[in-house]
Each structure stands twice: as structure tokens, then as C-alpha cells.
Subunit: 346 residues, 2 copies
Amino acid sequence: MAITIAIDAMGGDHGLTVTVPASIDALNSFSDIHIVLVGQESLIQAELAKHQYDSSRITVQHADQVVEMDDLPSKALRNKRQSSMRIALNLVKDDEAQACVSAGNTGALMAVAKFVLKTIPGIDRPAICTSMPTMKGHVHVLDLGANVGCTGENLMQFALMGSVLTKAVDDNPHPRVGLLNIGEEEIKGHQRIKDAHKLLNGTSINYIGYVEGDDIYKGDTDVVACDGFDGNIALKASEGVAKMISFYLKEAFTKNLFTKFVALMAYPVLKSFKSKVDPRKYNGASLLGLRKIVIKSHGGADQFSFFNAISEARLEVIKNVPDLISAEVSVLLQKQSEENESKETA
Amino acid sequence: MAITIAIDAMGGDHGLTVTVPASIDALNSFSDIHIVLVGQESLIQAELAKHQYDSSRITVQHADQVVEMDDLPSKALRNKRQSSMRIALNLVKDDEAQACVSAGNTGALMAVAKFVLKTIPGIDRPAICTSMPTMKGHVHVLDLGANVGCTGENLMQFALMGSVLTKAVDDNPHPRVGLLNIGEEEIKGHQRIKDAHKLLNGTSINYIGYVEGDDIYKGDTDVVACDGFDGNIALKASEGVAKMISFYLKEAFTKNLFTKFVALMAYPVLKSFKSKVDPRKYNGASLLGLRKIVIKSHGGADQFSFFNAISEARLEVIKNVPDLISAEVSVLLQKQSEENESKETA
């Protein structure tokens, strides 16, 4: 059976000029998918007309409205019921698609997805989870900004969801899960982190304790769980440093004729280096904790980036991530209720 | 009059092998300083004997104890009254030195410095402030980990102290001050940040509003104020990314004979690039809000790094940073009390 992926074709800084060709790339790479492009039908058709593709594998679904990048979540929820984002999510809700991919406004996507698709029973707050490069491979980090002011219980759930995702998509049977903190000592950090630390020690999650900001990139942790504020600060600061470094690298190699000649010589080396840390390879954040699969692409994604977000959606469908999370949460809730009962009996 | 700088010679991962030669470098670079090396006298003398230096400009002050990198602040405070760290701080308290530099345990240094030197009246919590490279120069960020769970008032004080420091050491009359948050909209972030935002809008500080993690490195902000937890996460994540990038850059240039040849060609280019983002240039964090000058060097500092921490100490003595902060805080407190009075009268 084909995997149907609903694409919010209007989302992101570049809209159709990115989402449409990236969708065609995905069709060409994966023979098992079908794409539904959701958005202004005439504009989508005009963009499609520029490309060669198998028309039997693409459906266009018209949507009158577009959620703008600066729309408040509340506005997107109440006043944009005919938006490409909302209709793409509705397709997933109605089982006409198995996943939705959007490069639109993050806050709006989370709010609308939560409203339309609902959270998995036992999960209080869905989290945004992305993978990031490390010195030894990659790491999943969540939450990246959906939830500010989490409880220990929330953080524990993020750890669980990240662990399940990593098990599934990386075929990693025992992901090492860390909690982001500012020291490895038990006394450091916010109360919520200490609470989560205690909770995690009582689960079957392969919890390795506190990790610090620099540990994210060392490759000794597979999942880093954190409050959305902390995750967002870590992610954005990392992006900032990486951009600054690449700025100075470029500056050094374009200074004069000699350095430009060196750059030409070094081109294959710099290219192989760049491929290791290329953020476009890691595009496609999962909205974990929803009953269905929603992938958030970076707003500024180019064709290659957005293609990777679609690949992530396909992989999560194949691995059936929401059901795996749901199953693990059930086990945990069952265990917690048994513990509570035995406490009451004691 | 000579500036006397007390060096905790035993502190840091490399101890005397770094602190002593870096101190001699500082004497050679700055004709206006005198150095007091505090620590195990025989060991210091043995290290000094390896170098050429003007013995009239170095004093050795014996200290029996050493604060270890994993000592709890409470232990350093109560059980290590004869430590090199404590005695160096005592010299500053007793006006025998104008500044102290230590590469020792950060938590211990902050606790002991606060106890020995006291905070400036009106400042609730001293903060750790470092400068970091940006695409256009550098930025001062504080707090970096001394204070977790700040109030809006604390953050406002950090902004004020960072602004005063930047005015003084960068000769920048109107430093642009931002508050670290996860979005530029007024509704985002923790309550403490919203509180600080309101407070800052009522001061004479050149407050430019919320900034995000990546803004730290863009060069459009001169001071970034934040809770110690958030600052630490940003700093450590940044360090982690920078190390990962440098790891992959090295890997790409050392892969085979061809890439090694290219590296040889590219050496001057890579060197000029590296000098732009060299963290050693930025070593020397200020413990702002104390009545005297204390500079924290990175524990792993090498000779060049530690030299830069000493330079920072000298500059802050010349600019008289604690007195400038004290004066600005007085103005602010005066203004607040006048406002309160006028509210009561109204």
C-alpha cells in the first residue's frame, strides 16, 4: 500500500518553488509514496507544469487560505480553517494521508496539529524533536520550543518519546538518553530537571543522567531531553555559531587572489567537510506526542532540505512512530498505576 | 602607580605550568603591572626558576591549600581558608592587589569571592560575564551560570552591569543591550524575562529588546543578558558546535596525501580564519557585581589564554569597573526611590 503524504505546499519562506520540486524529488526517490499537494490549486498547477512527474502519484487539494509566518497560533486556529496547513492536517486526521509536512509557522502548526490530531493518551504536551549532527553521527533533541516551563513529568515524557523515535528510525535498540543541564552534579539546575532525573531513574529508558550543552555534539548521547526554552536557546545559539564560523571561513578563503586559488584547490576538501555538518541533511523536525505524524520543515528550507523532511515523514510512517510511542506510554502508565496501588496497599 | 594583580597560581587544569609563564608574559607586555603569585611557594619558585623575569615585579605569597576542581563551593568556603584562591582574594580585599585572576573551580570562586569581597550595594547577585566573538566584533554575555532561577530585577541588573562594563572596556558610549529569549514577540518566554523587559524599558540603558540564540553571534547586540542557566546552555552548546566543526574540518584536511597537501597550501588561510574565532582570545570572564575585580579564566586555559585573562583584569582596573557599576546602580536606585515616592504622593 502506498504511503500518502500531505504537503502544506504554501508553507515556508519559498512556498511552492521549494515544496513542489522537493515533492517530485521524493516521488522519484521513493516508489512507495503518493503526494497530496495542498494549497492554491492554480498556483500549484502552474508550478507543477514546470516539471516532469508521474501525475498518477500526485493529487492537488485546493485550499483558499495561507497561514502567514507571523500569524499568531490563535489566529491560525480560529480564522484560517481553510488554510493549506489546516487542510493538510485534516487529511491526516481523516486517514486520507499518513503524515503531513509543513514549512509553515511553527507555533501555528503545533497549535493546529494539536487541535486537529489530538495528543496520544498519557502525553500532556507534544514536543518538537529534531536530529542534529554530532562527532560520531547524530542526536535527537527535544523539545525545541513548543513548551516553555515544563514539569519533570513533561521532561520525562519527552525523554520517552525521543527514545522511542530513536529506537525506531535509527534501529538503535538502547538509545542513551540525557537530560540537558548546566552541570553533571545532582544539585545543579532547575527543580523540573531534578524531578525528571528522579522519574527517569525509575523507568526502563536507558537514562544516562545530566548532559551539558557541549555534550549534545560529542556523540555519546542519542537523545537529549529538555524544556522547550532551553532546547531553543541551544539550537539557535548553535546555528549562530555555525553561521559565524562559516562566515569567517568564507572570508578567509576569499580575501585575495592567493586565498581564492587555495579555495579552488581546497574545494573537494571543503565540500566533504561541509557535507558532514550540512544542516539541510537534518531538516525535518517531528511533532512527537500527536496521534499522527507531522513533520515541521525549517521555514527557510531549500529543495534538498524539504526533500529530507518528506523522507523523515515517510520513515516515521513505515516505522509507525505514534503507535510505538502510544504503546510505551501505556506500559509506563500501567507501571505507575501499579506502583501507586502497591503504595496505597502498603 | 603600579597595578597589582593577585594570581591564584594553583588554579586550573594545568596549574603553575600555565599561570607562571602567562604571568611573566603579562609583565613583559604591560610595564604598569606587578604580579603576586599565590600558592605553594616551593613549587612556584621551582617553576619561576625555569624562566627569565624581572624579580622586582613578582612577589610570591605562600598558600598551604588548593581548591580542587570538584570541591563543592561550601567546602571551599569553610575548609579551605588557606587556599591559594582565598588568599588571592584576601589580597584584593585588603587593597594589596587591585584584581584577582583564577582558573579554579567556578562555583567555589564565585562563592568565596562573594563572601570575601561582598557585592556592590543594590546588586543582589553577581554574574559571570564573558566576551564572545561575533560576525562584527564581540559581545558581552551574562550570566553564564552563577545564577539559576533569576528574577526580572536580577536580569535587569545583569543588563546594567554588562552595559557599564562594555562602555568602559570597549569605549562604546551606547552599548546595545538585548535580553535572551526564544522569540522576538512580547508574549514569548519565561515570566522573569517579561518582567525584565518592562523594567529595562524604564531605564536609561540602550535596551533593544529580545534577542534569540543566534543573535548572540550576529554582531548587532553588544550585551546579552540572561539567566545563568540559559547563558550556560548557550555558551556550552556554542563551544560544542565549534569543536565539532573544527573536528570535521581537521578530518577533511587530514584524510589522505592530497588533502594534507591542500592543508599545507591552505595553512595561512586556515590560520587567519582560526584567529578570528579563537576562544583563547576571549578568555577571562568577569565576576561582575562584586566590590572588587575578579577574573575567572577557563579551567583548561593555556598560557596565551591565561595571559588574556590577566590583560582583562588589568583593563578593568584601569577603567575602574566596580566603581562605575556602583555609580550607575546608585543612580538607578535613586530614580526608583523617587518614582516610588511620587507614586505614594499621587
